[in-house]
């Protein structure tokens, strides 16, 4: 349900002047009076702009966060945190997410920041609301303040002489309380709702088809839109003949500020009207797959602070020269597509000069800015709401479709829905970047890492630094321009950097004649990571493995965003059959576990998704054009690929929660690569590992069936995700 619109977006209104009660009705409103303690420590990721919670006369709790739910389970996990502090059952909490008029400003849902940033803010404000309810009860004479207790949605006095439900307490109130950002929290050991298995109270709407995703919204009088795209990123429009499209019955063509699109009675009519537009584009030569590596190496780009990292210690060159065991190799990863099952979608509706846009994006506040710039209207006139979204995986940053829908709706004088076709999603989203890692490493006679020289081109900085103890290191990365749009991906560079690092570690271990698990343990100081690795080896039965022709097992570890992970994979690779991953064991530790079942589900899903990138996912392209922009030509993991997956969670209630949508996936690809090496005796250093054998690139004719004519889509101007050569924040 969409709440009424405030006079101005609350994040752009002084806290004292927000029309909270006009929108939410009477009650008690608690808001955080500053930055929450314990959240948002990372310089590159500012915390959410506060948090607020409303308790209404029905006793219902509304909590507000700028984070969004894209299938990572944050809605339930954050609601649990609020329910816990307010001492109410989970079903009493309605979490309002990603509504830019009502929610605190937020940078976006990525980088596994939902739990570390939003959870502490919501917990503290909910705890503050609980204390305020106790104050209110004391004021109303329910009992002495120091004897009152909040239990199951009510304030209780000793001996139950008086019990008053929250709803009754706040009836007739319009009370705003400021919550101390250091408001103490309930210790995890005292949790009664959070931290244990719980069913999603909204699961029924999913299995009955009633859950409404953006592409399912149906507003009265709504029409359907489509937009014209250039044939590839960066092409400039020279001229367009709109006549044939505009003369179709019931079709309205829109051409403004370089944007061209059409509105019609159905998505199909809108798309076919756009296809009837004859557009001429200026094109510049672009590298194809044969030249891409050279291109990336010779087209450096600049980025933001968080895009690069480096570490220089000791004298790695001399140490390498002196090392008895060395590896020198380059590792590569292909461009891969997020392919969320729901394509990009937006619905826009105007009321006078103000617009509301429902859009599946991971960055609602940035989408609002994008729309403001694209349409030249004030931020205050734009409300972006993120409904349930059919996944993102870091691939749904930005506001392209939001701006396109807003333009079309304004021109049509009616609400307009715009949903990308799968082909548009491939062509006009962005990819995980292609990257190259040049690596030289050496170990001494005892299997201690001695030298580490690691340089990546176009991967990014996440998990660039090794978690191992290495006296001599030179680690850095560079960013490149890219012929294809590239951007965040679930755990982005951590996947790539960890793949190269953990393969090289195995290569070194082999040269030194040391078991790969033992080799890693020998070089690790991080006790938490050592425990995780030990547990993985036990769970997978590492010590009991019997070598057998055509079978292999591999291990990899990772440390990123505060989470520690170890994965052990087992594969079968026999000449006559396709390679199969038989088993994946992942052990994960990321501090306190708030919602264990969801975390386990995330780890299992991450394993499957990582398996696709490890074995067969790759975007093929030529002249800046994608050759396999269809699900029939871009292979994703299916049921038949499913290995046995075992997810083991290590709970550390003494450490704040670090989130779990990303890090559990970063050890999967190298574990599979290491297993495949043991099974086949051939070391493959390029992802996807099986490209040559299993999935030949589509022939140019198959992949480029309609390459010469631009197909539908949104304005690409100024999209942060599409600009060349910049490395955007991080994933999911």
């Amino acid at each position: 349900m969409t709440l009424p619109r405030p006079r101005r977006p609350w994040d752009r209104t002084d806290p004292a002047r927000r029309d909270y009660f006009e929108v939410l009705g009477e009650g008690l409103l608690a808001q955080l009076a500053g930055r929450p303690a314990g959240g948002g420590a990372r310089g590159w990721s500012p915390p959410s702009g506060g948090a607020w919670v409303h308790v209404g006369p029905s006793g219902g709790i509304r909590a507000f966060t700028g984070k969004v739910e894209v299938g990572q389970g944050t809605r339930v996990a954050l609601s649990l945190a609020v329910a816990e502090e307010l001492r109410v059952p989970l079903a009493r909490v309605d979490l309002v997410m990603g509504d830019t008029d009502l929610c605190p400003w937020d940078m976006g849902t990525f980088g596994s920041r939902s739990m570390p940033d939003a959870a502490p803010a919501l917990q503290r404000v909910a705890a503050g609301a609980r204390e305020a309810l106790l104050d209110l009860a004391a004021d109303k004479g329910i009992g002495p303040r120091d004897r009152l207790e909040a239990v199951d949605g009510a304030v209780t006095a000793p001996g139950r002489s008086g019990t008053v439900a929250y709803g009754a307490l706040v009836t007739g109130e319009r009370r705003i309380v400021a919550v101390d950002p250091a408001q103490p929290l309930t210790a995890a050991s005292g949790w009664r709702v959070a931290g244990r298995p719980i069913a999603d109270p909204r699961a029924e709407e999913v299995v009955t088809g009633r859950r409404t995703y953006t592409s399912d919204l149906r507003l009265p009088g709504m029409r359907y839109g489509a937009a014209l795209h250039p044939p590839r990123m960066g092409s400039r429009l020279i001229r367009a003949d709109l006549g044939a499209a505009a003369s179709r019955p019931g079709v309205q063509v829109v051409h403004e500020d370089g944007f061209i699109g059409a509105v019609a009675a159905s998505p199909r009519e809108a798309h076919s009207a756009v296809a009837a537009i004859r557009a001429v584009w200026e094109e510049t030569p672009e590298p194809g797959e044969a030249e891409i590596e050279t291109f990336l190496r010779h087209h450096p780009a600049s980025g933001d602070d968080w895009d690069t990292a480096e570490r220089h210690e000791g004298d790695p060159v001399s140490a390498l020269a002196a090392a008895p065991f060395t590896v020198q190799a380059s590792y590569r990863t292909a461009y891969i597509a997020h392919t969320p099952l729901e394509t990009r979608a937006a619905v826009a509706e105007w009321t006078g000069t103000r617009v509301t846009i429902w859009v599946g994006t991971q960055t609602p506040f940035r989408a609002r800015e994008y729309v403001a710039t694209a349409l030249g209207i004030p931020l205050e006139d734009i409300r972006v709401i993120v409904p349930y979204t059919g996944a993102g995986f870091g691939g749904k940053h930005g506001g392209d479709v939001a701006a396109a829908a807003a333009r079309l709706a304004r021109a049509a004088g009616a609400p307009v829905e715009l949903t990308y076709s799968r082909e548009e999603e491939f062509r006009w989203g962005y990819f995980r970047p292609m990257a190259i890692i040049d690596l030289k490493a050496g170990a001494d006679r005892d299997g201690h890492l001695a030298a580490w020289i690691f340089h990546n081109v176009n991967a990014g900085a996440a998990a660039l630094l090794p978690p191992y103890r290495i006296p001599h290191q030179a680690v850095d990365n560079e960013l490149s321009e890219s012929p294809l749009a590239q951007g965040p991906y679930r755990s982005l560079a951590a996947n790539t950097n960890n793949f190269a690092r953990e393969c090289a570690i195995d290569e070194l271990a082999e040269r030194a004649g040391i078991d790969p698990v033992e080799f890693r343990q020998r070089n690790l100081d991080d006790e938490r990571l050592r425990v995780v690795l030990r547990r993985a080896a036990e769970t997978a039965g590492w010590a009991d493995w019997h070598r057998e022709a055509g079978r292999g097992r591999g291990v990899a570890i990772g440390l990123e965003k505060g989470g520690r992970v170890a994965t052990i994979a087992t594969v079968t690779a026999r000449d006559d059959r396709p390679v199969r991953v038989d088993r994946i064991v992942t052990v994960y530790e990321a501090g306190t576990i708030v919602h264990p079942e969801n975390l386990r589900s995330q780890i299992e899903g991450a394993a499957v998704q990582a398996l696709g990138g490890a074995l067969f996912e790759a975007i093929h392209f030529d002249q800046g054009r994608i050759r396999n922009a269809r699900l029939s030509e871009y292979r994703v993991p299916r049921f038949s690929d499913l290995p046995e997956i075992e997810a083991v969670l290590l709970d550390r209630p003494d450490i704040p929660s670090a989130g779990g949508g990303e890090t559990p996936m970063i050890a999967v690809a190298p574990a599979i690569a290491n297993a495949l090496y043991e099974a086949t005796g051939r070391r493959r250093r390029t992802l996807p590992l099986l490209e040559d054998d299993l999935m030949p690139p589509p022939t140019p004719t198959a992949g480029a069936r309609r390459p010469t004519r631009p197909r539908a889509g949104g304005s690409s101007r100024g999209s942060p995700a599409r600009s060349r050569g910049t490395r955007r924040a991080s994933p999911r």
């Binding site: 069913a199 969801n598 049921f639 499913l642």
Partner: protein, 171 residues
């Protein structure tokens, strides 16, 4: 009877039922069933994921068989019986498959779930106690990009168990 007429050119009139509701449409016979369900009938539980028969998000029961609605032309539907995910639960009671998906927590974003539920329903009607290999084979055309196959497999096994219980014992 729900009747409607499309705006787009030559039409012919076709009658079929969707979730027991008689439907009469006069639209171009090459329009696909998925679009008719989602746009004309407002039955948005059936999802678009690829439009080329590759993902299974648009799965419906067509004369009892799991069918990709994006690949079905309305012109071929005369006299057909279509059941969408919205038509599975009767009188507010979840079917064993739906119940099992909830119990196991067999979804993340949930976008593939309607197609999975419908495909699994057809599978269990055909084969009430499928072996894992049969489940994998039957469900291979349904993509879950969130990678939830393990849980979906468990949910289908569980649904087979629930279906074997007498109706009163199904909870």
């Amino acid at each position: 009877m729900t009747s409607f007429v499309g705006e787009d050119g030559p039409t012919s009139s076709i009658r079929f039922t969707v979730n027991d509701r008689p439907i009469s449409v006069a639209i171009r016979p090459d329009r696909n069933l998925l679009e008719v369900l989602r746009v004309e009938l407002g039955l948005t539980g059936t999802k678009y994921g690829c439009g080329e028969g590759e993902c299974g998000s648009c799965t419906v029961l067509l004369n009892g068989r799991a069918t990709r609605s994006c690949q079905v032309a309305v012109g071929d539907l005369a006299g057909a019986t279509v059941v969408t995910v919205e038509g599975l639960a009767r009188d507010g009671r979840l079917t064993p498959v739906q119940q099992a998906f909830v119990e196991v927590g067999a979804f993340q974003c949930g976008f593939c779930t309607p197609g999975m539920v419908v495909a699994a329903t057809a599978l269990l009607r055909r084969s009430p106690h499928p072996a894992d290999a049969e489940i994998r084979a039957a469900m291979d055309g349904n993509v879950c990009r969130c990678g939830g196959y393990g849980r979906i497999l468990r949910a289908i096994r569980r649904a087979a168990e629930i279906s074997a219980l007498p109706p009163e014992a199904r909870g």
